[in-house]
């Protein structure tokens, strides 16, 4: 009997710790919200100054494939969090190569970028199921009531995946965090500037608290 109980407990806790060990934290959001900027900030802060997740650009859909950094260890307020960080392509409902031409990209490159971006969106959605926690990165200068935001958050809620909203780009004058709070009042929110590192400690604290 005791042996059986021990086996059940060790199996339960074994699974629990195994899950924690391989925890995946995903960065989701629309294009150009600053997901890769935040990923780079996290890498620099916890893996070393020279380590980056990916390149950032003003041209939408700069990240067109899933990128993973393994074993990031965050220590905050006596708690430690070890996870694999997953940076995902921005989710969009439309992709037109002509939009890229306005950023002085040639037609062939723009078409290729559009093709890769469509694949990236599909991949990002497929990966939703494997996430343990998701940070939804939103641009505070944009209207938060976009359907992409609602669809991402609705899908996370339907899958019971814990969500932290990172209201990014608060260093910009047009930032309106209150509008994001009003749009998604049921989720914890941290206002940050991933680029400038503003409020980044509060972000880590909120992340550790959520997990």
């Amino acid at each position: 009997m005791i042996k059986k109980l021990t086996s059940v407990f060790s199996s339960f806790f074994g699974k629990f710790f195994k899950q924690k060990k391989n925890m995946k934290i995903g960065l989701y959001g629309p294009p150009n919200a600053g997901k890769t900027s935040l990923a780079n900030r996290i890498c620099k802060d916890w893996l070393g100054e020279d380590i980056e997740m990916g390149t950032v650009s003003k041209v939408p859909h700069e990240t067109r494939e899933i990128k993973i950094k393994e074993k990031i260890r965050i220590k905050k307020k006596g708690k430690e969090l070890v996870f694999n960080l997953v940076d995902t392509p921005g989710i969009a409902t439309k992709i037109d190569y002509e939009e890229f031409l306005t950023f002085k990209i040639n037609k062939t490159e723009a078409k290729e970028r559009a093709k890769e971006a469509t694949k990236g969106v599909i991949e990002a959605i497929k990966w939703l199921d494997s996430m343990d926690v998701v940070v939804v990165v939103l641009d505070s200068t944009m209207n938060p009531y976009s359907q992409v935001n609602i669809t991402i958050i609705g899908n996370l809620a339907a899958r019971n995946i814990p969500v932290l909203i990172a209201a990014n780009k608060i260093d910009l004058k047009k930032a309106n965090v209150k509008k994001i709070e009003a749009a998604f009042p049921q989720y914890p929110l941290v206002e940050i500037s991933a680029l400038k590192g503003k409020n980044i400690d509060e972000f880590y604290e909120a992340l550790v608290k959520l997990v």
Partner: protein, 127 residues
């Protein structure tokens, strides 16, 4: 340029599988019509709609603009109405509110604030 709105009552999609619902909506949008659907898709169906849209992007189909509108209950009534809504949804499906889906070649942007929806159209190209 004329804008065609195609109304899809909930009864038309009620019996369809998620895959068929998404396929039906995409077919209408690809005809350059704007779908005005009674009720809402499930979150998973919305995600499938985006995936399917991305798979179908071509020279002529650039994607969709999508918007769901939910009747927002007042704060005082919220929890009672939410309970009622959950019960009704269990019985007859999610018929509350409506969904707008338009082709990105026609609709430039759907601006949504809690009480207002604006459809911004693209300028017609002169041939």
């Amino acid at each position: 340029m004329a804008l065609t709105l195609e109304f899809v009552p909930y009864s038309e999609i009620e019996e369809l599988s998620s895959k068929k619902r998404v396929a039906k909506l995409i077919t209408i949008v690809k005809k350059e019509s704007v779908v005005l659907m009674q009720g809402k898709l499930k979150p998973e169906e919305e995600a499938s709609l985006i995936q399917r849209t991305m798979e179908d992007i071509s020279k002529t189909f650039k994607g969709i603009e999508l918007c769901t509108v939910d009747p927002e209950p007042t704060t005082k009534e919220r929890w009672i109405r939410q309970l009622k809504a959950i019960f009704i949804k269990m019985l007859i499906g999610d018929r509350d509110g409506f969904t707008i889906i338009g082709p990105a070649t026609v609709i430039k942007e759907i601006k949504k604030n809690p009480q207002k929806v604006e459809l911004l159209l693209k300028k017609a190209r002169r041939s």
